[in-house]
């Protein structure tokens, strides 16, 4: 492979509820097989990754996803002219739709991606997860999508508790009575609007699995992790790699049946009698992705290789009992840097 690759990475917001970008870059930088010039793409002027010059060579602001693909493409064309990008690794849920839509256009510009296609991407949407599980034979908690308060009223008799009340984008409340369901429904309604999802509560141990698929049904890497400690926002503060064949088998089956291309994270609930329920599928690398590199399966670097057309054999080993502990660090910079990224959109 060519010596120095130009790779653009998003989600440099390594803050208390972090995006994966900085971890992705760290993993890529550690791979001995190639060198990289890293171009940071950011939405906000205070994303910490922008100011980490040892990790990120140059950064550009890009338009918010809501501006649409035309604006994004125009901006990427400009950045491409400056940098001759070879690969973009987007890492935000909200931006993936746009990048997937632009995939072919980017390829004709000579910029590669390694992303799922729209069908794969949309099939794991929260609102469709139940159908997805049914179709592929995965255990998925039963859910009901409610579009009206009236529908909830009608359900009063048949609900079993506890039940999870979820918003269409975020938020989940465990309710133990109809009263609580109603309260949670109204609270989430006010915040996220309709529809609202009622999901069966599944009791067990929460496991996260970072998975990399080759797009042809093969899982290149599977690393299961259990959170050891979480923040008040429910994000992992520390976590440990696990050895559990059931989880690896589940992830392998997931990749085989979806033909997933790229990284993803399965949020799994392992019940006390050993049944793994898929609770959510995040269509990108998780923020703790560096742990995969530390455990011996560098998923971001493998993704880079596959995107560049190199054959990558599935990993067979990883270190069990590797722990990550997240920590915060006050990075120091100067007003001039902030003004540059904020005023010129480049740093």
């Amino acid at each position: 492979m060519k010596k120095k690759l130009v790779i653009a990475v998003t989600a440099l917001n390594a803050i208390d509820s972090p995006g994966p970008g900085v971890a992705v870059i760290r993993a890529i930088r550690e791979c001995p097989d190639f060198e990289a010039r890293i171009i940071g793409l950011s939405y906000e002027a205070l994303e910490p990754g922008l100011y980490m010059h040892e990790l990120v060579d140059k950064s550009y602001q890009i338009p918010y996803p809501s501006a649409g693909t035309d604006s994004l493409l125009a901006r990427l064309e400009y950045i491409h002219a400056e940098e001759q990008l070879e690969l973009i690794i987007p890492n935000f849920d909200a931006e993936l739709f746009n990048f997937i839509k632009l995939r072919d256009k980017l390829h004709t510009m000579g910029i590669r991606t390694f992303l799922p296609d729209l069908v794969q991407f949309e099939s794991r949407d929260k609102l469709k997860l139940f159908d997805f599980g049914k179709k592929h034979g995965f255990l998925v908690p039963r859910d009901r999508v409610l579009h009206e308060f009236r529908e909830l009223k009608k359900m009063e008799e048949e609900l079993e508790y506890p039940v999870v009340v979820k918003g269409k984008f975020y938020d989940a409340v465990i309710a133990n009575s109809y009263d609580q369901v109603e309260k949670a429904f109204l609270k989430i309604l006010a915040k996220w609007g309709l529809p609202i999802i009622l999901q069966d509560f599944v009791k067990g141990t929460e496991i996260n699995i970072a998975v990399l698929g080759d797009g042809k049904g093969k899982a290149i890497s599977i690393i299961p992790m259990r959170k050891l400690y979480i923040t008040d926002k429910g994000k992992a503060w520390a976590g440990i790699t696990l050895d559990d064949d059931r989880l690896v088998a589940l992830a392998r089956q997931f990749i085989a049946s979806t033909q997933w291309r790229g990284g993803c994270e399965l949020e799994v609930m392992l019940t006390d009698d050993g049944k793994p329920f898929i609770m959510e599928v995040n269509p990108r690398f998780p923020a703790w992705i560096y742990l995969t590199a530390a455990a011996g399966q560098n998923q971001p670097a493998s993704l880079v290789k596959m995107a560049m057309g190199e054959p990558v054999a599935p990993f067979t080993h990883y270190e069990v009992g590797k722990i990550f502990i997240r920590y915060s660090w006050d990075l120091i910079t100067d007003i001039a840097e902030f003004q540059k990224i904020s005023g010129n959109g480049e740093l």
Binding site: A67, T69, R75
Partner: protein, 451 residues
């Protein structure tokens, strides 16, 4: 030495929400011409504001939709939804392209007749049809789509009294997974109401059942919902055939395909998220073709598409009246048109382009209309170049529903110009005048002023 072009000074506080301007170039690309006619000359000749309709674009849309359906299904008929835009010139373009007329009131029905549409090519929808209108439609052999039981019984009584046998269909509402459900129109599918109504019609010697109709909503984003609708109508058609030995002539799936406008509150722009007509056509025709009808008994497929065929053929041109700074520091731009003309500003984040070249500087601004009312807002927040009084703007995709739902409120309604396929302009509705308004008013004698 020549002096530099002036641009008013700007000062932007840098905060983390500022980056929007990088890459938002597409919104700010000036639109100086519409079909080779310069915006400036159009406004100079016809006044500002001004609606402009492109005949070329209408025909292109119609031919495209027609081709998409006809290459998938043997028998397709479009019916122009009058309420979407019933300017005579617009209707005639659609009729020239082979569209029937779809109307929802006596007024629209008369308009279709006046436009020369043969009675048997007019579909009469809606919950509001008087006895006289029903009789007229029946005599003209029009397709009467029954909306409720009261209408069904009225029509049976009238037919019996007048010894006629009108051609009818019923409007059916159903759950297609779309919210809100439009269950206020027609007869419900799931609870058996639709079947009961059909049975009632088929058992009456005074009505001839010819079709089944539904219109599941407007600006639908889900092709799957149309597949469900098509399946339900096929199921009813099949049951009618089994029980009564009669195959209906047509299935009418209504309108509802979206334009590429961006709905308010939508996260992504419509140009990225709206499914193409091909996807809707696939969903619909796959179901009907696969349902099991014999080739010769396949029903005619009628479509009443409105906004998808005309929205992008319409533009609203206008002029900046003033710019100012609001008390909270935001920039406000006041235009010479508001929600009185641009009714769809209630639903859409309309794309608005400057009509002249500007520097690369941009700013966020509110776009207000000229009405003395707080709700008169065209865009709550848009990134525009630095606009000045007298600058001109172009609002895109305004062809549907504006020229029928606009209000004569505070000001008079503006002119509408059609640009034909040779790029010539034709005024197709003159601007309203004081005489026009006055002509309907009458002053009682005791209120008259001696002059």
């Amino acid at each position: 030495m020549e002096k530099k072009r002036y641009e008013r000074p700007t000062l932007r506080k840098m905060n983390t929400g500022l980056m929007n301007k990088f890459g938002s170039k597409s919104e700010n690309t000036p639109v100086t011409h519409i079909e080779n006619n310069s915006v400036k000359s159009l406004l100079k000749e016809y006044g500002s504001p001004l609606f402009v309709i492109s005949e070329r674009q209408i025909r292109r849309n119609m031919r495209n939709a027609s081709r998409i359906f006809k290459t998938r299904y043997p028998k397709v008929q479009f019916a122009w939804s009058y309420k979407t835009n019933y300017l005579d010139a617009v209707c005639q373009i659609f009729h020239q392209e082979g569209s029937w007329a779809e109307v929802v009131s006596g007024f629209e029905y008369d308009k279709a007749l006046k436009n020369g549409v043969p009675g048997n090519q007019i579909i009469f929808n809606g919950p509001d049809k008087t006895d006289e209108q029903l009789l007229l439609a029946a005599r003209n052999n029009s397709l009467i789509h029954i909306d409720h039981y009261d209408e069904l019984y009225t029509l049976i009584r009238l037919s019996e009294e007048h010894r006629m046998r009108p051609r009818v269909a019923i409007r059916i509402n159903m759950d297609t997974g779309i919210y809100p459900k439009w269950d206020r129109f027609g007869f419900n599918f799931e609870n058996g109401q639709a079947w009961n109504a059909l049975t009632r019609i088929l058992n009456s010697q005074w009505l001839e059942l010819v079709g089944l109709h539904c219109h599941i909503g407007t600006f639908m984003l889900s092709p799957a919902a149309y597949a469900t609708a098509a399946r339900n109508l096929c199921e009813l058609a099949w049951s009618v055939k089994e029980r009564f030995g009669k195959m209906v002539d047509y299935i009418d799936l209504g309108g509802g395909f979206p334009s590429t406008n961006t709905l308010k509150g939508a996260y992504l722009p419509g140009t990225d998220t709206v499914p193409s007509i091909d996807q809707f056509a696939d969903a619909i025709t796959d179901v009907i073709l696969g349902y099991g009808f014999r080739p010769e008994e396949l029903p005619l497929l009628i479509l009443e598409s409105g906004r998808a065929l005309i929205d992008d053929a319409g533009y609203l041109l206008g002029t900046v009246l003033a710019t100012k700074r609001l008390s909270d520091g935001r920039r406000a731009t006041i235009l010479d048109f508001g929600i009185n003309s641009l009714f769809t500003a209630f639903w859409y984040e309309h794309k608005v382009s400057p009509a002249q070249l500007h520097s690369r500087q941009t700013e966020e601004t509110v776009l207000y209309g000229p009405l003395c009312m707080n709700i008169d807002m065209v865009r709550e927040n848009i990134v525009m170049p630095l606009l000045e009084k007298g600058n001109q703007v172009v609002v895109h995709q305004v062809g549907a529903y504006n020229m029928t739902q606009w209000m004569q409120f505070i000001t008079l309604r503006p002119a509408i110009v059609l640009i034909d396929e040779e790029n010539n302009t034709h005024i197709i509705r003159r601007p309203e005048t004081m005489e026009y308004i006055d002509s309907l008013e009458q002053l009682p004698q005791h209120l008259k002023q001696d002059v």
